[in-house]
C-alpha cells in the first residue's frame, strides 16, 4: 500500500544522503521524495511516498526516527491530509492540435506556461493520480519531456 511520510530533519549536509541511503541500504521502495525548507529555518521537510506492507512501513518510520538528524516522522496515510505534486509536461503541438490540448489543460485545471511552434509546456498541479491522468490524456499528442516534483503533503486541519 502507498504511504505518505512527512519527515522533519535538521539542516545538515549529511542528512539527505543519510535518509536516502536508508532506503537503498535496507531495500525499501521510494516512489517519490521531495525536500524543501519548512516553517523553521533550521529544519527541512521531506515528503516521501513509499510502498510496503504495514511491517515495512513501521520499520521505515522507526529507522528514520533513529537517525540523529531526524526530528519527527509523521505517517499521514491514515489521517486526512492534503497532497500536491507539480508536473511540467512538454507536449508536441501543431496549430491543428493546440486547441484540443488547451481543452484538456482546462479540464485538469492546468496551465500552459510556454509555447513554441511545435510544443506547448503545461503546468499541472494536484494529487499524483490526477497528474497521471492528465499525462495519460496528453500522451496521444506526443510527450517530449516530463519533470515532476514528487508529492508534498500536510495534515488537514479541521478546527475553526
Amino acid at each position: 500500500m502507498r504511504h505518505t511520510l512527512s519527515v522533519l530533519f535538521e539542516n545538515s549536509f549529511n542528512a539527505i544522503p543519510r535518509i536516502a541511503g536508508l532506503f537503498s541500504g535496507r531495500g525499501y521502495n521510494i516512489t517519490s521524495i521531495s525536500f524543501g525548507q519548512g516553517e523553521d529555518p533550521e529544519v527541512t521537510r521531506a515528503t516521501i511516498t513509499t510502498d510496503g506492507d504495514e511491517r515495512i512501513i513501521e520499520q521505515i518510520a522507526k529507522q528514520l526516527n533513529k537517525l540523529v538528524d531526524v526530528v519527527k516522522v509523521i505517517d499521514l496515510t491514515y489521517e486526512p491530509f492534503v497532497e500536491r505534486e507539480l508536473a511540467l509536461v512538454k507536449v508536441q503541438a501543431t496549430p491543428s492540435t493546440r486547441a484540443e490540448i488547451m481543452q484538456i489543460t482546462d479540464i485538469f485545471r492546468a496551465k500552459i506556461i510556454d509555447v513554441s511552434g511545435k510544443t506547448v509546456t503545461i503546468e499541472i498541479t494536484g494529487k499524483s493520480d490526477k497528474i497521471d491522468a492528465a499525462i495519460g490524456m496528453l500522451e496521444a499528442f506526443g510527450i517530449r519531456e516530463i519533470a515532476r516534483t514528487g508529492a508534498v503533503a500536510l495534515k488537514r486541519e479541521f478546527k475553526k
Partner: protein, 577 residues
C-alpha cells in the same frame, strides 16, 4: 570516568588552534586512551598530543587494529573507545572496525584527518569521502567546517556514541580547520532536537508484562547484548531468581547471567545448547531483553517459538517487532526496566517447567569426544576456565574458535565475553584483546583465536610488545578455515575448496618469538593445563600458546542455516576417526 590532571584546563575564551581544541575536548570528555596511527593530515594533532601525557596514545600497526582495540577497550570497560587516524587509506582501514562496532552497538569515536577544506572533492592526495563511505555503518558523523564548532562537535559525538543504543560516531577533521584558532569553551550540556533516547520503560506496559509473566507456565528469558553491563546484568539475575524463570543468552549476552546458576541454559541459536533451543521451541512466554531476534538466534522464523507470547524490552524501538512481532513491546534500557519489572512480578508456577528443563539438560548436555586423537578444542577452553576461575575477559575471534569459547567457558560476569557477533569479523579477537587488557590492567585477558583469524591482524603483536600488554593468546590451530570447512564437510560433500591453511601457515611459536613475545606449542592433552598455568605468570608481554587441535573437529550442536531451532544436528553424524 577518571580525569588525571597533569595539564591545567585552559581558561574559557583562550584562543586555541583546532588541534589543541580537539585534544582539550578529548581531555574534557574524560578520554585516557587513544588508539591510532599518524599520517599526513593528522601530524598537527599528533604534535598537540605530544604535550598531553594524560592521554595515553597506543600506536598500532594497522588502523584496523586501532578500531578493534578501541572496540575491545569499550566493550570491556563501558567507556567510549577513541581512534585517531589520517585521511584516505588511514580512514578506509578503519571501516571494518567501525562496521564491527556498529553491528554490536559499541560506543566509539573515530577521528579522521581530512585534506584541507578547499581541496575536498578534488581527488586530492590521500583524500577519501570517509563520511560517505561510513554513512551506513555509523550512528552519526560530522565533517567539521568551522573550528568554532569543533569543541561542541566532539562533546556531541561522545554523547551520541555512548547513550541510547550505543554506536560508532565519526568526526572528519580537515587539515585547515586544525590550524585555525577559536576561543576555548568548556563543554556544556548536549541538546539535539532529534535525539532523545528513551531509558525509562512505560509503566503500564511493565505492569502488563508482569501480569503476563505471572500467568505463564513455561516462561523463558532471552537476554542479549543490551543486558551485558552493570547494573542491568544484576537486575536480570534478580528477576530470574525471584520469578524462577530460566535464562538463555545470545552470543552477545554471554556474561549477563551467571552460567553457574541452575536457571542458566547457556547460549541459544545456531550453535546454542540443545536444551536452550528446545526450551525456546516449547516455551509459552519469551521475555526478550536487549536482544534483536537475529537470524543466527531464531533459525527459521516461521517455526520460532510458535506457542509463545513475546515481551520485548529494548532501547531501540526499531529492533522491536522487526523480525518477530511482540505482544508487549517496552522501549527503554534494561537497567531501568528490569528492576521495575522485578518489583511488579509475582511468582509464576514454573516448577514443572524447571524440572522438564533439568531433564533435558541431563539427557542432552553439551558434549565432545574426549578420547579424540588430538587435543579436543572444548577441552582447551574448559582448562582456560579452570585456571582463570571463569573470571577472565575472554576475547574470541570468529569461527569455530568463537563457538568453542562461547559454549565451554562458563561466563559469570558482564563484560567478560567479547566477540564480533553481528558482523563476524575475523581478525577482531587479537587487537580487541589488547584493547581490553589496556582497559583492564588488573584482569586476565585471554584471546581465543584460530590460525586463520590470528593472521588477519598478526601485526598487532608489535603493539602488544611495545606496551608490554600481557594478553594470553590461545591459538586453536587446526590448519583449516575451520567453520567454513565444517559447512563444506556437512553440506558440500567434504569438498574443501580454499579452506586449507596448513600448507602455508607460519611457525607460530617462532613468529611470536620474532616479535619478542613468548611462544609455546602444545601437542598433547596433558600439556594443556601446565602451559596455561605458565602463561599466567607472564606479566610483561604477550604469550602465544598454539594448541594443535584435531584438524576436522566440529562445533555441535548445530542448527543448519534456514532450519528450525529444534532441527539440531546434535553430534557428528560420521565421527572422524
Amino acid at each position: 570516568m577518571t580525569k588525571k590532571k597533569t595539564q591545567k584546563r585552559p581558561e574559557e575564551g583562550t584562543l586555541l588552534s583546532g588541534t589543541e581544541l580537539l585534544i582539550q575536548a578529548l581531555v574534557d570528555a574524560g578520554v585516557d586512551t587513544v588508539f591510532g596511527y599518524p599520517g599526513g593530515t593528522v601530524i598537527g594533532i599528533y604534535d598537540a598530543l605530544f604535550d598531553h601525557p594524560e592521554i595515553r596514545h597506543i600506536l598500532v600497526r594497522h588502523e584496523q587494529g586501532a578500531t578493534h582495540a578501541a572496540d575491545g577497550y569499550a566493550r570491556s570497560t563501558g567507556r567510549t573507545g577513541v581512534v585517531l587516524v589520517t585521511s584516505g587509506p588511514g580512514a578506509t582501514n578503519t571501516v571494518t572496525g567501525i562496521a564491527t562496532a556498529f553491528m554490536d552497538s559499541v560506543p566509539l569515536v573515530v577521528i579522521t584527518g581530512q585534506v584541507p577544506s578547499a581541496m575536498i572533492g578534488n581527488d586530492a592526495f590521500q583524500e577519501a569521502d570517509i563520511i560517505g563511505i561510513t554513512r551506513p555503518i555509523t550512528k552519526h558523523s560530522y565533517l567539521v567546517k568551522d573550528v568554532r564548532q569543533l569543541g561542541q562537535i566532539v562533546n556531541e559525538a561522545f554523547h551520541i556514541a555512548a547513550t541510547g543504543k550505543p554506536g560508532p560516531v565519526l568526526i572528519d577533521l580537515p587539515k585547515d580547520i586544525q590550524l585555525e584558532k577559536a576561543p576555548y569553551q568548556k563543554p556544556g550540556p548536549v541538546s539535539i532536537r532529534g535525539y532523545n533516547p528513551t531509558y525509562k520503560g512505560h509503566s503500564q506496559q511493565i505492569i502488563k508484562a508482569a501480569r503476563m509473566i505471572d500467568q505463564a507456565q513455561k516462561p523463558l528469558i532471552y537476554a542479549g547484548g543490551g543486558v551485558n553491563s552493570e547494573p542491568a546484568a544484576v537486575s536480570l539475575t534478580e528477576l530470574a531468581v525471584k520469578a524462577r524463570i530460566p535464562v538463555t543468552t545470545t552470543l552477545m549476552g554471554l556474561g549477563s547471567f551467571p552460567e553457574s546458576n541452575p536457571l542458566s541454559l547457556g547460549m541459544l541459536g545456531m550453535h546454542g545448547t540443545w536444551y536452550a533451543n528446545k526450551a525456546v521451541t516449547e516455551s509459552d512466554l519469551i521475555i526478550a531483553v536487549g536482544a534483536r531476534f537475529d537470524d543466527r538466534v531464531t533459525g527459521k522464523l516461521s517455526a520460532f517459538a510458535r506457542g509463545a507470547k513475546i515481551i520485548h524490552i529494548d532501547i531501540d524501538p526499531a529492533s522491536i517487532a522487526k523480525n518477530v512481532p511482540a505482544h508487549i513491546p517496552i522501549v527503554g534500557h534494561a537497567a531501568e526496566i528490569l528492576p521495575e519489572l522485578t518489583l511488579a512480578v509475582g511468582r509464576p508456577y514454573t516448577q514443572g517447567w524447571l524440572e522438564q528443563i533439568q531433564k533435558w539438560k541431563q539427557e542432552h548436555p553439551l558434549q565432545y569426544d574426549k578420547d579424540c586423537c588430538r587435543i579436543p578444542p572444548p577441552f582447551v577452553i574448559q582448562k582456560v576456565a579452570e585456571v582463570t576461575d571463569h573470571r577472565a575477559v575472554i576475547v574470541a575471534d570468529v569461527g569455530q574458535n568463537q563457538m568453542f569459547a562461547a559454549q565451554w567457558y562458563g561466563y559469570e560476569e558482564a563484560r567478560t565475553h567479547l566477540s564480533s557477533g553481528g558482523l563476524g569479523t575475523m581478525g577482531y579477537g587479537f587487537p580487541a584483546a589488547i584493547g581490553a587488557k589496556l582497559g583492564n590492567p588488573d584482569k586476565t585477558v585471554v584471546c581465543v583465536v584460530g590460525d586463520g583469524g590470528f593472521q588477519m591482524n598478526v601485526q598487532e603483536l608489535a603493539t602488544a610488545m611495545k606496551y608490554g600488554v600481557p594478553v594470553k593468546i590461545v591459538l586453536l590451530n587446526n590448519g583449516f578455515l575451520g567453520m567454513v570447512r565444517q559447512w563444506q564437510h556437512l553440506f558440500f560433500k567434504k569438498r574443501y575448496s580454499q579452506t586449507i591453511l596448513s600448507d602455508a601457515n607460519p611457525d607460530f611459536v617462532r613468529l611470536a618469538e620474532s616479535y619478542g613475545a613468548i611462544g609455546y606449542r602444545v601437542e598433547k592433552k596433558d600439556d594443556v593445563l601446565p602451559v596455561l598455568r605458565k602463561s599466567l605468570e607472564v606479566e610483561d608481554r604477550p604469550v602465544l600458546m598454539e594448541f594443535i587441535i584435531e584438524p576436522e573437529s566440529q562445533v555441535f550442536p548445530m542448527v543448519p542455516a534456514g532450519a528450525a531451532l529444534n532441527e539440531m544436528i546434535e553430534t557428528n553424524p560420521e565421527p572422524t576417526a
